[in-house]
């Protein structure tokens, strides 16, 4: 018997606290697998943010630091400048990164901080009960856009990968998703590459992962995969938005 797939040592044994079907669990696993496979796990420092993934420090099997809402890139900056050769990463949701934390993420990219940001975009605020996020789609119903997001008064959703790609300090930015085995494999490749960019001191890397919130969206776990495929991807196209390494 050859083991083809088993739980990575990059994760602790703690059961995930996410809703059934929430793809946070897949993304955590991919991050953990990449760190372990690249031999970076034992020197990694995870910066947990605030949102559904507030407890991520319980799941990543490495040193961790809890950050205030939105501040993870600043906290990561303090850590990485202190220990430039350790692998420092943040794991943030769309409220954390694209709302309260827009200042910190733009400036971390601006300074070219040699960190990796895992940005989980599920177009909603899950932890606090399903409010509108800056990434919520036009006409999408949430608890604070009960009649659907009205772009006239609430703005168009924000595309953070595209935005940060225009910031000179960013080195590698890709948007992926985890809705089927093929996209999960691609997402893992992207996350691995981002950690390699950090390991090779090439600058700021971010992987935006389109993820489900079946509870917030009022869908079943499987229907939620369809929401990403049919509604989110057309607005948030998958692909590489910045690749400084490719220019060489």
């Amino acid at each position: 018997m050859t083991v083809l797939f088993k739980k990575t040592r990059g994760l602790t044994d703690a059961p995930f606290t996410y809703c059934p079907g929430c793809t946070h669990g897949i993304i955590h696993r991919l991050v953990a697998e990449c760190l372990d496979e690249l031999g970076l796990l034992d020197e990694a420092i995870a910066i947990a943010s605030v949102g559904c993934s507030v407890m991520s420090y319980e799941f990543f099997n490495c040193d961790a630091i809890q950050a205030a809402h939105g501040r993870a890139p600043a906290v990561a900056t303090g850590v990485k400048r202190t220990h430039p050769n350790k692998t420092v990463f943040t794991y943030q949701g769309d409220g954390d990164l694209a709302s309260i934390g827009t200042g910190e993420i733009v400036q971390a990219a601006h300074r070219g901080e040699n960190i990796t940001v895992i940005f989980v975009n599920n177009a909603i605020y899950g932890m606090t009960g399903g409010q509108m996020a800056p990434t919520t789609l036009p006409n999408q119903i949430t608890t604070t856009s009960p009649y659907g997001r009205n772009v006239a008064t609430q703005g168009e959703p924000i595309r953070m990968s595209e935005l940060l790609a225009t910031v000179p300090g960013s080195a590698y930015i890709e948007r992926v998703t985890v809705i089927d085995p093929a996209s999960v494999r691609k997402a893992k490749k992207a996350i691995k590459h981002a950690f390699e960019v950090q390991r090779d001191h090439q600058g700021f890397s971010m992987i935006e992962v389109l993820s489900t919130c079946n509870i917030g969206w009022g869908l079943s776990p499987i229907e939620a995969l369809g929401f990403i495929k049919n509604r989110m991807i057309p607005y948030y196209p998958l692909g590489v938005f910045k690749d400084k390494g490719a220019l060489k």
């Binding site: 018997m1 050859t2 083991v3 083809l4 797939f5 088993k6 739980k7 994760l11 059961p15 995930f16 996410y18 809703c19 059934p20 079907g21 929430c22 793809t23 946070h24 669990g25 897949i26 696993r29 089927d180 085995p181 999960v184 494999r185 079943s220 776990p221 499987i222 995969l225």
Partner: protein
């Protein structure tokens, strides 16, 4: 290729993503069982048909499934 699955049943939340992902449709939620966390866990109904593609394990958000390849 033939595969063997092991389920850490008490981690399963009955989300069904593995059932949906399996290309040979051999996984189901076991409605006759309730696991320690209150869900109907996933199980394999036709083990001989497993092709060890790992699609189920790739899609599982709770790291429930271990996949082994049966070497001939």
């Amino acid at each position: 290729m033939k595969g063997r699955l092991t389920f850490d049943t008490d981690r399963c939340k009955g989300c069904g993503l593995c059932v949906n992902a399996c290309p040979v449709h051999i996984l189901e939620l076991d409605t006759g069982t309730i696991n320690a966390i209150g869900y109907n866990p996933s199980h394999i109904v036709d083990p001989d048909k497993c092709i060890a593609c790992t699609s189920c394990a790739l899609m599982c958000p709770d790291v429930v499934i271990t996949v082994e390849r049966i070497d001939e």
